[in-house]
């Protein structure tokens, strides 16, 4: 039928793009045969990278939640002078290339008084595992703030008002009403933050460096092994990362509306 030329052209382009992206993934997964893929995944280096990635991303996600709750609550519920400026500053890390954020962190912790003070106190960030966590945190905090802010803005403040008239302090009222009601947003935000933390490369490379079996997260493992020509190990790391992305996307679709934030 003549009428559908426009529609069919659109759908054809859609299928083409889908095929391209699908091929992208498939090329990685099928590049080695299943047996050697599994062998590489259970190699000590990749196992180390998986463990380090999980550890650092879980901790940095936890830090993001902990900081994002009070900060985004402030942005959602209070009015104060300079709110627009603070908001813009807090949004910056989202617009900043991660490698630049990594450089900034390196300068703060590597060259300033605060940095050496923390290093003397035993908290070294440059070329260390805590550095990985800090890099993931700094890059992801803005997105977590946005998600939590819009979550809090979607919860009627009158729940807290009612709780306060019934005997709660403002803090108790928050804990009993708004916090439990923000569960879905918090889960969605955590899943994104976690997934982006695991995949973070540029900022981690800058602050924590790429040292085999020391600061070797999965993306760093991919990078190191590509550099040294060990394609199979790189592909093993990439496969795990694809798996994690898939899981994230699945969890995210299930949380529906909040997904639109991303």
């Amino acid at each position: 039928m003549q009428r559908n030329g426009f529609k069919y052209a659109n759908l054809f382009l859609m299928l083409l793009l889908t095929l391209f992206i699908f091929t992208l993934i498939l090329e990685i997964i099928t590049h080695t045969d299943p047996v050697s893929l599994i062998t590489n995944i259970i190699s000590p280096e990749i196992q180390f990278a998986i463990r380090l990635s999980l550890l650092t991303s879980v901790i940095s996600t936890f830090m993001c939640i902990l900081i994002a709750i009070p900060v985004s609550y402030s942005l959602a519920r209070y009015d104060f002078h300079g709110k627009a400026i603070i908001n813009t500053v807090l949004d910056l890390p989202m617009a900043l290339p991660p490698i630049v954020a990594g450089l900034g962190l390196l300068l703060i912790f590597g060259t300033t008084g605060v940095g050496s003070f923390l290093a003397d106190a035993g908290l070294k960030f440059v070329f260390t595992v805590p550095g990985i966590i800090m890099a993931q945190f700094a890059v992801n905090i803005s997105l977590m703030l946005r998600i939590m802010r819009s979550t809090f803005e979607g919860i009627n403040p009158r729940y807290e008002h009612v709780a306060q008239t019934l005997g709660c302090t403002p803090f108790q009222a928050f804990i009993r009403t708004t916090l439990p009601l923000s569960k879905n947003g918090m889960i969605a935000g955590s899943v994104i933050t976690w997934s982006r933390g695991i995949g973070e490369f540029g900022a981690v490379l800058m602050l924590a460096g790429a040292t085999r079996m020391k600061t070797e997260t999965l993306p760093i493992a991919l990078y190191l092994n590509m550099s040294s020509g060990e394609l199979d190990l790189a592909i093993a790391a990439a496969t795990i990362l694809i798996l994690i992305s898939g899981i994230t996307l699945y969890l995210f679709e299930r949380k529906g509306g909040v997904a639109k934030l991303y």
């Binding site: 009627n156 729940y159 008002h161 009612v162 306060q164 008239t165 019934l166 005997g167």
Partner: protein, 350 residues
């Protein structure tokens, strides 16, 4: 006693200007005004959600202006119920008991919850989730949650506005009954004159961030002190009366007269008759209409194409006529006339 003295507050574009109110112990007080008049902000300032820019609030002679809401011994019910969606009905009602100074044990908490639920007729809903309740059930739960802490002051923010008209009527009765039972000082904010008229001991008319008039519903209705108040309240024939059902119709005694309505309800009621629904004649009429009264024209108000008459029959009826009908009948102040209206034109609103 609640004493609101000289409160002012600017919130965004909105301004409350030097509000003074005093509500007596045990009184049911309505604040009546159109949307955007500042009623809710005033209520939330009394609750302690916002602080006034200047002025003070006294509850039982104690200045609560700088206290947290939790220390003011008040409870609040909102138009949109605000039941905690993460708790069932029982947990919602019992919420406030965990934070009182009484330190109740589990057994007495439960018996108090059941007693209050009983009072509001929602005993069978205690294990239900708020999202499964109807509007009326939600608001009963919210009221139960508010009164269980036995507050010194109950604040109701348009508690009936989100309900359909049938539920609205029943819950209005409920509020009246609870107030007669508990005698809790109550401030009820509404935009419906009907609601204020049927519930309040006294009302305050609020508009544009100011209080315009305070008085009993009757005073405000009969002697509005400004054009705004007159327009806002002066549109209906509203009368208190006592109703009995006879032959399937309600017979309502108002000031010694009997008015018939086809709506069936017994006991204390408020009736309303639209001025356009009343027929005027110089001679008695034998018709299908159930209500007929003799009265004297006591006031004539000429409008653009109609005339409004106040006819005193012992009850002051307002009637609207076309200009031509008014001229044809040769009426003036003091003329004797007959009023006729159908039982179906007599609405029982409470």
């Amino acid at each position: 006693m609640i004493e609101v003295s000289d409160i002012s507050k600017t919130l965004g574009d909105f301004e409350l200007e030097r509000i003074n109110l005093s509500v007596n112990e045990g009184e049911y007080f309505c604040i009546l005004g159109p949307t955007g008049s500042g009623k809710t902000i005033l209520l939330e300032m009394i609750a302690g959600i916002y602080n006034p820019d200047i002025g003070s609030i006294l509850i039982n002679n104690f200045d609560v202006s700088s206290l947290l809401p939790k220390d003011r011994h008040i409870s609040m019910v909102y138009q949109d119920f605000m039941l905690f969606p993460n708790m069932n009905v029982r947990e919602n009602i019992g919420f406030g008991l965990k934070y009182t100074d009484l330190k109740l044990d589990k057994v007495s908490i439960n018996s108090k919850i059941e007693e209050t639920a009983e009072m509001l007729g929602i005993s069978n809903l205690l294990d239900r989730h708020p999202s499964t309740l109807s509007g009326g059930e939600k608001q009963r739960t919210a009221i139960a949650r508010a009164i269980i802490t036995e507050p010194a002051l109950l604040l109701l923010d348009e508690p009936l506005s989100a309900l359909d008209s049938g539920t609205k009527g029943r819950l209005r009765q409920e509020l009246l009954r609870i107030h007669q039972l508990k005698k809790t000082t109550t401030i009820h904010v509404t935009h419906s004159f009907e609601e204020a008229f049927t519930l309040a001991d006294r009302i305050a008319i609020m508009h544009g961030g100011k209080i315009h008039q305070v008085g009993t519903p009757d005073e405000v209705f009969r002697k509005p002190n400004s054009k705004f108040v007159a327009d806002f309240v002066g549109v209906e024939n509203l009368f208190h009366g006592t109703s009995v059902i006879f032959n399937d119709l309600s017979e309502i005694k108002v000031n010694g007269h009997t008015i018939i309505s086809s709506t069936r309800r017994e006991g204390d009621v408020v009736i309303s008759i639209r001025p356009e629904d009343i027929l005027l004649s110089k001679d008695p009429i034998d018709s299908s209409a159930r209500n007929s009264f003799t009265g004297v024209v006591s006031d004539v108000i000429r409008m653009k194409s109609t005339v409004k008459l106040v006819i005193d029959t012992g009850i002051p009826f307002r009637v609207v006529l076309t200009k031509r009908a008014y001229d044809d009948m040769g009426l003036s102040c003091g003329s004797e006339v007959y009023l006729t209206f159908k039982a179906s034109a007599t609405h029982l609103i409470c």
